[in-house]
């Protein structure tokens, strides 16, 4: 396990501050569901950054991390759906809630292949939506071009999620040391992309 460095802590603190800003100021004026969803997603980012600063990367060893981390893409994707395609919000909310429950149940009751497949399906769907929707809406003129940054953030969250998920299942795509080295940078870049992208939408 790589020890957390001073630079990691600075990057994570910036991530926490940006997330707090987004929760306090960045999502004002949106619909109730979008505010709740973005608050959950950025809230998990905020708390996770602080816990990593305090406890170091060892905190990622906890079995609860995968379940709680799923709230980030699910919250963001549901927020985007409710903001831009509200006709699908009830259906997608059902998918998000059931998907989250499925991740939790399979992770605790049947850890192994079923849990991994469930995680990949739910996480993957939410990640793809965050990646694709902003790009499509920007190209269609529904949102301004800067909104593409949210899609880039979605791509980054997907990369981070995959790296951590495979690491947790014991088949890491990169060495644990490399993953922990890039993780704080990835988290900050992702948060920056989301905050600026949502502001420019």
């Amino acid at each position: 396990m790589r020890d957390i460095s001073a630079l990691d802590r600075v990057l994570l603190l910036l991530t926490a501050l940006l997330s707090a800003y987004q929760i306090a100021v960045g999502i004002e004026g949106l619909g109730s569901l979008a505010v709740i969803c973005y608050t959950i997603a950025f809230g998990v980012l905020l708390v996770a950054s602080l816990i990593l600063i305090i406890l170091g990367f060892e905190a990622l060893e906890s079995p609860h991390v995968v379940v709680i981390a799923a709230l980030i893409p699910l919250g963001l994707s549901l927020g985007l759906i409710s903001q831009y395609v509200p006709t699908y919000q009830v259906g997608y909310m059902a998918f998000a809630v059931l998907g989250f429950l499925a991740i939790g149940i399979t992770r605790y009751l049947t850890p192994g292949r079923i849990a991994t497949i469930t995680l990949a399906l739910v996480h993957g769907t939410a990640g793809l939506l965050i990646f694709i929707l902003p790009i499509v809406f920007s190209l269609q003129g529904v949102a301004r071009p800067g909104f593409i940054l949210v899609g880039i953030g979605g791509g980054l969250i997907g990369i981070g999620g995959l790296l951590l998920a495979f690491l947790r299942t014991g088949r890491p795509l990169l060495s644990a040391k490399t993953i922990y080295t890039v993780l704080p940078v990835l988290l900050l870049m992702m948060t920056v992309a989301f905050v600026i992208g949502l502001a420019l939408a």
Binding site: I23, A24, L46, V47, I54, L55
Partner: protein, 293 residues
């Protein structure tokens, strides 16, 4: 040459004094006092009063901290965590530290009374509970002394609020309760981390009196109740929804860590909870300050 030497001596002395006032702890308590005052909002706030509040609170808190160090120097000398403090190391004489502590306290409390009688009374109460009730009377007798230490710690925010609104109101009491409940978690965490040290000195602590399990539970419970008190007070102050959302998120994080530390207790997790509770308290104060500016 002589001037340079005197300058170095003065700087060294101030360095020792700085260690004696526990700058981090004093700074955090000072911040709570400022947050309490700012929570009263405009048009009551003036920069002159704000500076006077900062000065008087800094002096009063520093004074009581120095006196605490003077009284507890025998305990500090026996503990690994505290044996490097100026008094056990002999970097300062007891009489000099005593004069410094008394001087700072008189200046701080006196200035507080000049600002406002009610503010002065609360600042004096904080000093009284910290030195007389907590340090001298109860610390070496009962593990429950931390409650009184907590009451003393909750006084700066109550004082700040009382100065701002001119009375002691329910918001001030709730803010004070939040700090009061945070302080035992701070002390109990140190009790757990340095258990052998405390046992060696014979100072009664929660872990030695009731066991680790009860202490973990007490820390978790007081952290959660502190965050609830803070949340209600923030709502009472009229904090906007955006800032309240941040507070709710941080409270949720605190709750998750508190539950985890009870379900799977460990020194590391407990330390994490304590650190998070400290960040929570600091963030809450900053949110109150930023929001009311």
């Amino acid at each position: 040459m002589i001037i340079r030497s005197i300058g170095q001596q003065v700087r060294r002395r101030l360095g020792v004094y700085w260690k004696l006032i526990k700058s981090l702890q004093t700074g955090l308590l000072l911040l709570t006092g400022l947050a309490g005052y700012m929570s009263a909002r405009c048009p009551v706030i003036t920069w002159r009063t704000l500076l006077a509040l900062t000065g008087s609170l800094f002096l009063a808190i520093s004074g009581s901290t120095v006196l605490n160090m003077v009284y507890d120097r025998d305990i500090d000398a026996q503990m690994k965590r505290t044996c490097n403090r100026p008094l056990p190391l002999g970097q300062i004489r007891v009489v000099e530290a005593l004069v410094l502590g008394v001087g700072l306290s008189i200046l701080g409390i006196g200035w507080a009374f000049l600002l406002s009688p009610i503010y002065g009374i609360v600042v004096f109460a904080g000093f009284f509970f910290d030195i007389v009730v907590y340090t001298i009377w109860l610390k070496r007798r009962t593990a429950w002394s931390i409650v009184w230490g907590g009451i003393a710690g909750g006084m700066p925010i109550l004082a700040g609020r009382a100065l701002g609104v001119g009375q002691i109101d329910w918001i001030g009491l709730l803010l004070s309760l939040a700090v009061l409940l945070w302080i035992p978690t701070h002390i109990m965490t140190f009790n757990l981390r340095h258990k052998a040290d405390y046992q060696h000195t014979g100072v009664p602590t929660f872990p030695s009196a009731y066991g680790d399990r009860v202490t973990y539970l007490a820390i978790a419970l007081s952290s959660v109740v502190a965050s609830v008190a803070m949340g209600i007070a923030a709502y009472g102050i009229g904090m906007t929804w955006g800032y309240l959302r941040v507070l709710v998120v941080l409270s949720a994080g605190l709750l998750v860590l508190a539950v985890s530390s009870v379900v799977r207790p460990s020194v590391r997790l407990n330390f994490g909870l304590f650190k998070f509770a400290s960040i929570y308290m600091l963030s809450s104060m900053l949110l109150v300050l930023v929001e009311t500016m």
